[in-house]
C-alpha cells in the first residue's frame, strides 16, 4: 500500500464523520433555507414549497432579525472585548514572578468555565433580583438607586455581558498563560538591558510574542460569543425584556423549534454562518499580518 492510500485510510474515519455530521446537515440546512418548510410541511411534506430566496428577502425586512443581529453585535463587541482584556490582564498578573499561590488563583478563576451555563444563569438571576439580589444590595451600599437588572431593556444586556465575561474569562486566561510561557525570558532580559520600561516590554515583547495566542483567543471568542444562547434563554425568558436580549441563535431557535418555521430558521442559520465566516477571515487577516 502506498503512503498515499495509507494516508487516506487514516483520515477516512474523520472524513466520514465530517461528511455525515457536518457536510450533509449543512447542505440540508442550505436546501431547507430555500423552502417554506413549517409545521404544515412536517405534517405533510406536500405542504412545503420551494420559495427561492424569499426567506432571505423577508429576513432583510424583519425588524426582529435586525434587532437580534444588533443585540448579538453588542454582546460580541462589548462582551468579547471585555472578556479578552480581562483574561489578558489576569494572565499577566498570574504570570508575575512575585505572586504567591498562583495555582490557587488559576483554579479559582478557571472554575466558572467548567460550570454549566444553566446553573450559573440561575444563580445570577437571583443575584440580579430586584428586591433581594446581591447586586442591588451593593448599589444600595453605594447609595445608588436599585436597577431592574433583567427587566429593564437598558440593563438586561449589560447584566448578561457581566455574567458571560465572569463565566468565560478563565478559559482565555489559561490560554494566555500558556502563551506567556512560550516567550523566552532572554527577550525580556535583552529589553531590560536596552533600558525598556515595563510598558515598553509589554508593548514590544509580550504582545508580539502573544500574537498567535491572540489570534486563537480572538477567533474562538468571536465565534463563541456570536453563538449567545443559553444565557438569555434561561435568564430573560428567551430574549426579553422587549427583545433586548434576543440573540441571533436564540431567534433562530425560536423560529425553528418553537414555531417550526424550519425554512426560515435555516435562512437565519445560513446568514449566521456567512457572518461568522466573514468575521473569522477578517480577524485572521488583521491579526496574522506581520508587524513591521
Amino acid at each position: 500500500m502506498s503512503e498515499r492510500t495509507a494516508g487516506w485510510f487514516f483520515i477516512a474515519p474523520a472524513l466520514v464523520l465530517l461528511a455525515v455530521f457536518f457536510v450533509l446537515p449543512a447542505t440540508f440546512g442550505l436546501a431547507l433555507s430555500l423552502t417554506d418548510w413549517d409545521i404544515y410541511a412536517v405534517g405533510n411534506p406536500r405542504n412545503a414549497r420551494f420559495v427561492g430566496l424569499a426567506n432571505f428577502k423577508t429576513l432583510l425586512f424583519d425588524a426582529l432579525f435586525w434587532r437580534a443581529l444588533l443585540n448579538t453585535g453588542y454582546f460580541v463587541v462589548v462582551g468579547g472585548t471585555l472578556s479578552v482584556a480581562l483574561s489578558l490582564v489576569t494572565a499577566l498578573a498570574l504570570h508575575a514572578w512575585w505572586l504567591k499561590g498562583k495555582g490557587l488563583f488559576r483554579t479559582v478563576f478557571f472554575a466558572p468555565v467548567v460550570l454549566t451555563v444553566v446553573a450559573v444563569a440561575i444563580v445570577f438571576r437571583n443575584l440580579y433580583g430586584f428586591d433581594f439580589g446581591l447586586m442591588n444590595r451593593f448599589l444600595k451600599l453605594l447609595g445608588l438607586a436599585p436597577i431592574f437588572w433583567l427587566g429593564d431593556p437598558k440593563w438586561a444586556m449589560p447584566a448578561i455581558i457581566l455574567m458571560a465575561v465572569w463565566k468565560n474569562f478563565g478559559y482565555n486566561m489559561v490560554i494566555f498563560l500558556a502563551g506567556l510561557t512560550t516567550i523566552p525570558e532572554t527577550l525580556y532580559e535583552a529589553a531590560r538591558l536596552d533600558g525598556a520600561s515595563s510598558w515598553q516590554q509589554f508593548r514590544y515583547v509580550t504582545l508580539p510574542g502573544l500574537r498567535p495566542t491572540m489570534l486563537f483567543v480572538v477567533t474562538t471568542t468571536l465565534i463563541g460569543y456570536f453563538q449567545l444562547f443559553a444565557e438569555p434563554y434561561v435568564m430573560t425568558n428567551g430574549g426579553g425584556p422587549m427583545n433586548a436580549t434576543l440573540s441571533l441563535v436564540l431567534y433562530m431557535y425560536k423560529e425553528g423549534f418553537r414555531w417550526w418555521n424550519m425554512g426560515y430558521a435555516a435562512a437565519v442559520a445560513v446568514v449566521l454562518f456567512a457572518i461568522l465566516l466573514g468575521i473569522t477571515a477578517l480577524s485572521r487577516k488583521l491579526l496574522s499580518r506581520e508587524e513591521v
Partner: protein, 418 residues
Amino acid sequence: MRALLLAGTWLLFASCALDRSREALTFWALGREGEAVEQVLAGFRAEHPTLRLEVQQIPFSAAHEKLLTAIVGRSTPDVAQVGNTWIPELVALDALQPLDGWLTRVSVTRKENHFPGIWATNTLGEHLWGIPWYVDTRLLFYRKDLLARAGIQQPPRDWNEWLFAMRRLKEIGTGPYAMFLPLDDWVPLVAFTWQQEGDLVGQDLEPRFCDAPFRSALAFYLQLFREELAPVMGSAQVGNYYQRFADGWFAMYITGPWNLGEFRQRLPAPMATAWDTAPLPAPAGKPYPGVSLAGGSSLVVFRRSRHKEQALELVAYLARPAVQVAFYRATGDLPAHRQAWEDPALAGDPKLFAFRTQLERVRPLPMLPENERIVQHLWQKVEGAIRGVVHEEKLCRELNQEVSAMLAKRRWLMGKDR
C-alpha cells in the same frame, strides 16, 4: 468525537425505546401533574392487572418541544397530557387519534358533562381530539378587606365599577398600585378583547387588531398603566408577589386556580379571610361575568399508538368524576367533569364559587397552530405601547400586518383545499 458520542447515546436510547414499547402503555404527564398522577392511578392498575402502565414525567417547560420532536421522530407515547392550546398544532401534524367514535361507546363522559368553552378547545374540524382532564381559567383575586376600607362591599361587576374601585384604592392609599398586570401575561388583554365581543383572528384568517373591540380593550388596558393603577413591570421584577399582595402593594390580580393553593400556603395566616376570588368584570352593558380564557390540559391518544384500546381506557378512567375529585385533592387542579364539582371537596370551598361561574364563560384561543405565536407576539408588541415607545395606532397596524404574515401559509393551504 462529539458526533461519535452523540451517535452512541442515540443508539443507546433507541434500543431502550424499542425495549420499552414492547408491551407497556406509555403515558406522558407534565410537570406537577406528572408527579401527582401516580396517586390516582392505583385504581387503574388494579382494574388492569396484566397491563404494564408506564408514566413518564416531562417537565412542563420542555414538554411542547419534546412532543413535537417525538412526533417528527415517530416515537410518540400512547397517551399524553397536553396543554389544550396545543391541540390545533397536533392536529395539523396529524398526530392525534380522533375520539368521536369512541365517545359514543363509553358512558363516562359526554359533551354535556363539560364546560362548553373548555370542550371547544378539543374540537376542530368536526372532530374531537382530546378529553378535558383538568381546567384552568383566569379571574380576579382581590383583597376584600382593602376594598371594604375603600367603601366597596362587592367585587366589581363591570369595567366602570372596576376602574372606580381601583381609583378609590389609590386615593385612600392602600398601596402604590391597585392591580397587578404582569407585562409578560397576554391573557388579560385577550380576555378584554373577547369581552368586547371581538376576535383576534377572523373566519377569513385575517387578524382583527384594528377593529373596534380590540381597540377599546387596548385602550382600557393601557389606561390602567397610564393612571398608574398597575405597575409597568413583568412578573420577574415584582419578585415575591405573594408578599406584595399581603402587604397591599397591589389589591387585585388576574390569575388562575394554581394560585388558590399558593395563596393559602404563602400568605400569613390572618390573611385567609382577607382575600377572595371573583369572576372577571364585563364592559358596561355586556353580560356578566366577562369572558376569560379556556385553559387547562387535555388527554390525547396518538395516532401511532399500538395500544389504542388500553389508551382509551386510561383516558376514560382519568375522566371519571371520582378520579377527578381525587386528583383535585392531590394537586388542586380543577376537574373538567361537572359532576366532580358537586363533591363536597369542591362545592364546600367558597373560593371556588367564582371559578365555577367563570368556567361557564370561557373561550379558547383561535383554533390555529399559530395561536401561541400570535399571543406571544401580541404581548411583546403591546409592551412597547405600555412603555410609551409605540403609538397605539401604529401598534394596531403593525400587529395586523405581522400576524397576517404569520397566517399567510394557512390561508394558502385553505385556498388549496377548496
